[in-house]
């Protein structure tokens, strides 16, 4: 027994030495970046290597799984332990809070420095999602608070091959929602093929689609009035929005299990020619190419449910980095971001990760599939561009309500009432 004890102690000492030795051997990184983008880590690391060769500065990308990332940031901000650069997930409110508390740097002055053309490089909408205008409701000093490193749009996609097989013209996708339903119903003719599949297990995709149609049915102004509390969710227009999901469900064309499906599962279904339509972001191209390089598809404008207003299509910065205002390496970090958004690096990044660039003038470098996601620009919008966002509890109620409609447990009317009730409860406080 005594032998065992001494053995253990020796082992303990050894291990702790190993532990300490290791942490000392690692040269202390100059700039640390936290992010959640598992699919981009490889490309990031290659870029970091390149940056070290060019500038002798260590860049360390630390990846955290998406599900735990926000927790990590929340805890780090409470302990004042944020890294030099990081991404912020979530509503604009969160970005605003970081800006207001002086946790992240206002980048306007860096971007506008006389000799630098940094600001002019970017596509407008990508910068806008990270900026605050004068007199914003968050009471944040106007300015640009984040650097977009790529861009995205979330669109309706259709499978050309399947449409052709059912006798539709693969170059004229459905224009109205009714057309969409009629085509989707044809899926019943085929085994293991569905009309519509999307990653509705990740609820924000539902909210995205719902707001697209809210724009279409009631117009942007009325939509924003709902957020402000001037229009109730029990308004007939909102019930129309919710009813679209009822129609989808009743057409019988939804992929089974659609509301537990995650994004990647839905992408796989679309990539293997097993659904006519899907609703997905430009990040999906990566998966489509990996699984089925021969996939024939394209994006389409949201099939209209109403002709009076323009629908919305979410687009903007895919991922943005913000700069820790208290970091000692602020300058270095900002220089790195500048470098990262130079043409050469952007070309590398969009090629490696199949994304859209956040800077102008790279049209010819965008892969052909990716170009589809530049369509429908006239409808582009983003929650971070709206003056005000919905309370997260209300968004949660909308998503849950729509899921309930899709599984046939609640009617649009019931959901509308529930959402309105939640809205009332949280606007009181």
């Amino acid at each position: 027994m005594r032998k065992f004890f001494t053995f253990t102690i020796i082992l303990l000492v050894c291990f702790s030495l190993v532990g300490c030795g290791k942490s000392k051997q690692e040269t202390s990184p100059k700039v640390t970046i936290w992010h959640w983008m598992s699919d981009r880590q490889d490309a990031f690391e290659q870029l970091a290597k390149k940056y070290k060769q060019e500038n002798q500065i260590n860049i360390k990308f630390e990846l955290f799984p998406h599900s735990a990332y926000t927790q990590k940031i929340n805890a780090a901000v409470a302990a004042n332990d944020l890294p030099d650069l990081f991404g912020i997930l979530g509503e604009k409110r969160v970005l605003a809070s970081f800006a207001k508390e002086g946790k992240i740097e206002d980048l306007t002055s860096y971007m506008q420095e006389a000799q630098s053309s940094w600001k002019r490089r970017f596509i407008d909408i990508c910068l806008k999602v990270n900026s605050f205008k004068d007199n914003n409701i968050y009471d944040v000093n106007p300015g640009i608070y984040g650097v977009p490193i790529d861009a995205m749009s979330i669109q309706f996609l259709y499978n050309k091959k399947l449409l052709k097989e059912e006798g539709f013209d693969p170059n004229t996708p459905p224009q109205t929602f009714t057309d969409l339903l009629n085509i989707a119903k044809k899926a019943a003719n085929k085994k293991d093929v569905y009309g519509f599949a999307s990653g509705w297990g990740e609820t924000w995709l539902i909210y995205c689609m719902a707001t697209n149609y809210a724009f279409d049915i009631m117009g942007q102004e009325k939509f924003l009035d709902t957020i402000k509390g001037k229009v109730s969710y029990t308004d007939p227009d909102w019930i129309k929005v919710f009813s679209l999901f009822k129609d989808l469900q009743q057409s019988g064309s939804l992929a089974p299990g659609i509301i537990t499906m995650n994004n990647k599962e839905a992408e796989q279904i679309f990539a293997t020619n097993r659904t006519f339509f899907t609703f997905n972001g430009s990040w999906g191209v990566n998966t489509y190419q990996q699984i089925n390089p021969e996939l024939e598809y394209s994006t389409m404008a949201p099939p209209r449910a109403n002709q009076n207003y323009a629908p919305g299509v979410w687009a903007g910065a895919g991922a943005s980095f913000v700069v820790n205002a208290q970091s000692k390496n602020k300058k270095l970090a900002i220089e790195f971001l500048n470098w990262l958004t130079e043409k050469e690096q952007q070309i590398f990044l969009i090629k490696e990760t199949s994304n859209l660039p956040s800077i102008k003038g790279l049209k010819k470098n965008i892969q052909s599939d990716m170009k589809y996601f530049l369509d429908n620009q006239q409808y582009f919008t983003h929650p971070r561009l709206w003056p005000e966002n919905e309370n997260s509890r209300v968004v949660e109620a909308i998503n849950r309500g729509i899921q309930n409609i899709v599984i046939g447990e609640k009617t649009p009317q019931e959901v509308a009432e529930e959402v309105a009730k939640t809205k009332k409860q949280y606007s009181q406080q």
Partner: protein, 359 residues
């Protein structure tokens, strides 16, 4: 007993206590402090003191008042019955008495608070509106726990009995039944998701292959998801109970059974009169472990369903996790405290019952 000896004795617990106070007690008070705060609507980092507002939102003000009053009465009664002597705090009466008075004071404060809030509330008509999302998530946790207590533990017990009777050591079974707990929630969750998802539909395919095609269905759909989660959890976890129960069974000396057999006791009698009474403490250990392990599950639902469809598998800890993600730090802290309190009450109740049954 002199001071020095006390100190030596105390030093045995000191390391444990040091770690505890750092990792539990301080965070506990911190969490409590956070639970009295709420972020401003436009700035999630700006926490404002709101008193018991979060608790009122969770319980609805009406129930909250009743609870506070009950706690107040309980504290006063507890202090008046003078239970502090039992905690063996001190040979002298000083500390115990101070504690007694303090408890009475806190109890009194609770009662006064309840009374004043009652008056203010009765003036404004406030809806009865507890946070159903939260309480439903608690209900789901307990639904799974119920499965764990019944199905999982019965399975573990039956298997342990079987192995004990049929093979003397049951080495092979011990290894096999413990494979799943070894694997961990993440691996099991990911595997099950691939097996149970509608696509590629491995499990349904298997059912069809063995001629049970009519049983095939959407296992993660609206009707089945929670039950699937519960059964998967039980299936993953029964190994723990099995190992402990088997170890317990093998401590029962064979002679006892022999003696009973000579006395003419049948198998059922031997089971109820010897096996069960001998195992009571171990059974209670397994029960408490099941409660703790099940009410707090998060990894499996996260990997398997992410709380969907339509929130039907959002268990309580997952709910707390999501609330934290949505910057409701104060609210999540309050939820965490309430869940902790429920668990403490349950487990201590269990221990009490176990002690009663022993004596």
């Amino acid at each position: 007993m002199n001071k020095k000896e006390q100190l030596i004795n105390f030093s045995f617990v000191a390391p444990a206590l040091a770690i505890f106070s750092f990792f539990y007690i301080i965070p506990f008070f911190y969490t409590f402090w956070l639970s009295l705060h709420k972020a401003s609507p436009t700035n999630v980092l700006d926490l404002n003191f709101v008193g018991a507002q979060n608790f009122k939102d969770i319980f609805s003000p009406q129930i909250f008042i009743v609870l506070v009053a009950v706690v107040g009465i309980f504290l006063i009664l507890f202090a008046l019955k003078n239970k502090f002597q039992k905690l063996s705090l001190n040979n002298k009466k000083g500390l115990a008495q101070t504690l007694q008075f303090a408890t009475i004071a806190i109890g009194g404060a609770c009662l006064i608070y309840a009374a004043t809030t009652f008056i203010t509330i009765s003036r404004q008509a406030i809806d009865f509106n507890p946070d159903l999302q939260w309480w439903n998530s608690v209900r789901r946790s307990f639904y799974i726990t119920l499965w764990g207590l019944t199905f999982q533990n019965c399975l573990a017990f039956i298997l342990a009995l079987g192995v004990d009777r049929a093979t003397r050591t049951g080495k092979l079974y011990r290894v096999i039944f413990f494979l799943l707990p070894v694997l961990g929630e993440v691996i099991i969750g990911l595997l099950l998701r691939i097996m149970l998802s509608h696509y590629p539909g491995v499990f349904n395919h298997l059912l069809e292959n063995i001629g049970l095609g009519q049983w095939a269905q959407n296992w993660l759909g609206k009707d089945m998801a929670l039950a699937t989660l519960a059964v998967s959890h039980c299936w993953r976890g029964f190994g723990y109970g099995f190992i402990i129960l088997l170890a317990g069974l093998q401590t029962i000396p064979e002679q006892l059974y022999e003696a009973a057999r000579i006395d003419g006791a049948n198998a059922w009698h031997r089971f109820t009169k010897i096996t069960v009474p001998m195992l009571v403490p171990i059974i209670f250990l397994v029960i408490i472990l099941t409660i703790l392990g099940t009410v707090q599950i998060i990894g499996l639902p996260m990997a398997l369903t992410r709380g969907g469809p339509a929130g039907k598998t959002t268990v309580s800890v997952l709910r707390i996790f999501y609330d934290l993600n949505n910057s409701h730090v104060g609210y999540a802290s309050a939820e965490g405290l309430i869940l902790g309190l429920i668990l403490v009450t349950l487990s201590f109740g269990m221990l009490k019952i176990s002690k009663k049954m022993k004596s």
